[in-house]
Symmetry: C2
Subunit: 501 residues, 2 copies
């Protein structure tokens, strides 16, 4: 398919109909390059379009399209009857360095490519083997934070989207509020009242693209770059990234049986002005923050004018007992931002989370979000509002709670049967994953084990990667919510092989 | 509707059926508060649920629901046949400060509320009257950056959404690539090849939530906090915010007739390693960056290992002439990130933009985006991919180009008729707005004029707010694309009144 034009060697034009670029673009690009590289001298006359078309074996119209563009760009000058010539005055000699002329497109240049903070973040990512592929959609067992793949009613969802976008008002399609769809914000308020037992105003509810965006935004609003925030150790690694994105220094506070300890935190970093905690079901350990600690934390925040971010991680999935009141429900001084997410409950591509702000921060946050243009897509928000308001969310949670409770049981049984000799896997009253911990006498490297399992097609995550402090525990995190029933025991058996000493 | 329980004065429970909270939540919340505030003493016996129900004039089941929750939370202890009592050991006295006990929910606390950077950003916003309401959807004339309200084919759009979500694959619904929908990224590549004349790989195309997110992300990846970037003065105020979000220092470089001047920039800030420019139609002045300047800028980037962000602002809307080749098409050293947006072309709530990365940065950016969880919503991406691939985008651009070209003519005619004595309004070969500049002898304060126009229901934006440097020009930006034909002349007449000396 390659056509060479033997009589235009000075132009070096090579057309290839197999390329995605249409022929006139190819001609234009190569003429432009020839001019820039002085293979076509300034003021030189060009062959007629008729001749070029004949030589290139293409339609004259194709050549004319290319020449029109070059004329518009100033590379080529039309001189009436005397035809076309290369522009005399543009570009001048100083503009085209030998380096430009000689280098192929896209070749790396000298000099530092990435900022230091990017390199640091890449290093954090490299040290976290569980983060290898958030967009990796195989194997199925045992990804973290993934819901079941078949439970969500996509046909209903498609219908709601269709209905919402038939003829949207301009207040939705054109100039949405930075905090999101008013109907969705109201639906979230109603849902939280029923499901989590606290009241709030739609004016304090911000729809965001994810828990990390919520955290990063909140940290930026209340803290300056370089200030300190307490986070739990271990914790979800994304928490550290979200704070780093806000240039806030994360100070790790080891958690104990009662969860995050405000006393320990004050000993480590007395000047921190933000605490980030997951009280209802700590990630990854599943610890529930005791009531006493909750109250102490709130008292600290009020006394010092500090802030608490409550990441209600896995709050929706409890299989026994009843949840404690969220910090937000106990907060009477307006110091708690409550974070929730729909992406993990419904399907990850939804990318909709929310933050219930302390009311005193709503106005400033609105301005900041408008300036940052940080609002979440409105496309799904109307449909999600109806999904919640019409009771589909509660029904979906009821269905998946039963499903995941059963999967946890199946994983416990399979683990007892196949891994019991070397690992303890304890039941958890909530959440979407379990932890396989090696018996204390066993030598175990959870990163090596993760790699060995991945090599056999089973995806687990190393517990140690969730720790940032000096003390780390080894173990494997097994997400069961997104693992079909029938695959649980076979995957555990593969895991056993992978972990064989 | 308020029911008072005369026989439980010590509890002070007041139920209000008009509140959104169900009665059992109201009972639970008020009992919890009475316990925390010691109005119900530790270990005190509670009245029976039957008695409480009678006293509160509600169903006994309602009271039991509330008590169950308090038991689960540890506030209340069930003692078998002897009934319920307040927990003796929780919370202890130190936990509830008088301040907590005495303060109403949500009241502001002492201490600094906002970070200094937030205060600085609020000040920038306050100094920019055009930013008063990005979610303000009236009046209609003359908002900036708003497309026509009636041209977009929403029924077709609803149908595409419906079809895309009937039964999505898990690679879309479950674990999308951080860069977005593969089909959309391919459609963008194809579109750019045809519309803007350059080729790129889908692997370098990142779908983002907006131009500001693109810029902020790119700046973060290539620059460290505190490093300098050149921006045009005047420019879109959001550009400064996006760089501030990445903690990058924006250095303003005044533009001249040929646009951004690399020479002037090097004189002002020789160590800057990033240039942010809008070469095809500079905002707000509409200047087109000359070819000579384009080449000089690319040569600088290559020589110094620096980067160029090309914001192809308004590149799609040209009414006469042909566009110059984008920087990206001239970049053979791989130093240019190309930014585009669909939100302004289709409808703002879409919130989908894109960035074509230098190929050498794609891998690092993918990891960073996955860690930051910064990806754009997938909900609209499949539908948008079909919208582009099936030719609807090009058709929509053709329709709106005609429409907006006509509106620019209408605005020019109305301005000449009604504002000609005091203002010059020059035609522009492209874009979605015009600038009304006062005759040189006129004293004019564009911020006061903006406020006066807004008071009469016409929305204009002050040119001076786009300047960050010492030299500012006064003028009014009139967005015509989103202003219906029939409203243009009446709005100009209102504007004339508002501007009367």
């Amino acid at each position: 398919l390659t056509r060479r034009a033997p009589n235009t060697p000075q132009l070096g034009i090579v057309l290839d109909a197999a390329l995605p670029d249409p022929l006139h673009r190819q001609i234009g690009a190569q003429l432009r390059r020839a001019i820039l590289e002085r293979r076509l001298a300034p003021a030189a006359r060009l062959p007629s379009s008729r001749l070029m078309a004949a030589e290139l074996n293409c339609a004259r119209g194709t050549v004319l399209l290319a020449l029109d563009q070059l004329i518009a760009e100033g590379y080529v000058i039309a001189r009436g009857r005397s035809g076309l010539s290369v522009a005399a005055d543009l570009p001048d000699d100083a503009l085209v360095s030998p380096a430009i002329a000689g280098r192929a497109a896209g070749a790396p240049a000298a000099g530092p490519i990435l900022s230091h903070r990017t390199v640091a973040q890449l290093a954090r990512a490299a040290a976290d083997p569980s983060a290898d592929g958030p967009h990796d959609h195989s194997p199925i067992a045992f990804p973290l934070g993934q819901p079941d793949r078949t439970s969500f009613p996509f046909r209903l969802w498609a219908k709601l989207l269709d209905e919402e976008w038939q003829s949207p008002g301009w207040e939705i399609a054109g100039a949405p509020h930075p905090f999101g769809h008013p109907g969705l914000r109201q639906a979230i308020v109603d849902y939280l009242g029923v499901a989590r037992g606290f009241s709030c105003e739609p004016a304090s509810v911000v729809v965001t693209t994810g828990v990390r965006q919520s955290l990063s935004l909140f940290a930026r609003i209340v803290l300056d770059a370089g200030e300190e925030a307490w986070i739990e150790d271990p914790c979800f690694p994304g928490t550290r990234d979200a704070l780093a994105a806000a240039e806030v220094r994360a100070v790790m506070v080891p958690i104990d049986r009662e969860g995050f300890s405000p006393q320990a935190a004050q000993a480590v970093a007395p000047r921190a002005r933000l605490a980030v905690v997951a009280p209802s079901h700590q990630f990854p350990l599943g610890t529930v923050l005791s009531l006493q600690r909750r109250l102490t934390l709130l008292e600290w925040a009020e006394r010092t004018g500090s802030w608490v971010v409550e990441d209600d991680f896995d709050g929706e999935y409890r299989y026994s007992g009843r949840p404690l009141a969220p910090l937000r429900a106990l907060d009477r001084a307006g110091r708690v931002a409550y974070l929730g997410s729909f992406s993990k409950l419904l399907f990850p591509a939804l990318r909709l989370s929310f933050m219930v702000l302390p009311a005193s921060l709503a106005a400033a946050t609105e301005t900041i979000m408008a300036r940052l243009s940080a609002r979440a897509s409105l496309i799904a928000q109307g449909a999600l509002a109806r999904f919640i308001a019409d009771g589909h969310l509660v029904a979906h949670l009821r269905r998946t709670r039963l499903l995941y409770g059963g999967r946890q049981q199946a994983l416990l049984a399979a683990a007892a049967r196949h891994l019991g000799g070397r690992f303890d896997v304890a039941a958890d009253a909530g959440g979407m994953h379990l932890i396989a911990r090696p018996h204390s006498e066993t030598r175990f490297d959870d990163r090596a084990a993760t790699a060995a399992a991945a090599a056999r097609g089973v995806r687990v995550s190393p517990l140690s990667a969730c720790y940032a402090g000096a003390h780390k525990a080894d173990g494997l995190l097994l997400g069961y919510a997104g693992t079909p029933d029938a695959e649980i025991e076979p995957a555990v058996m593969v895991l056993k092989e992978a972990l064989a000493p």
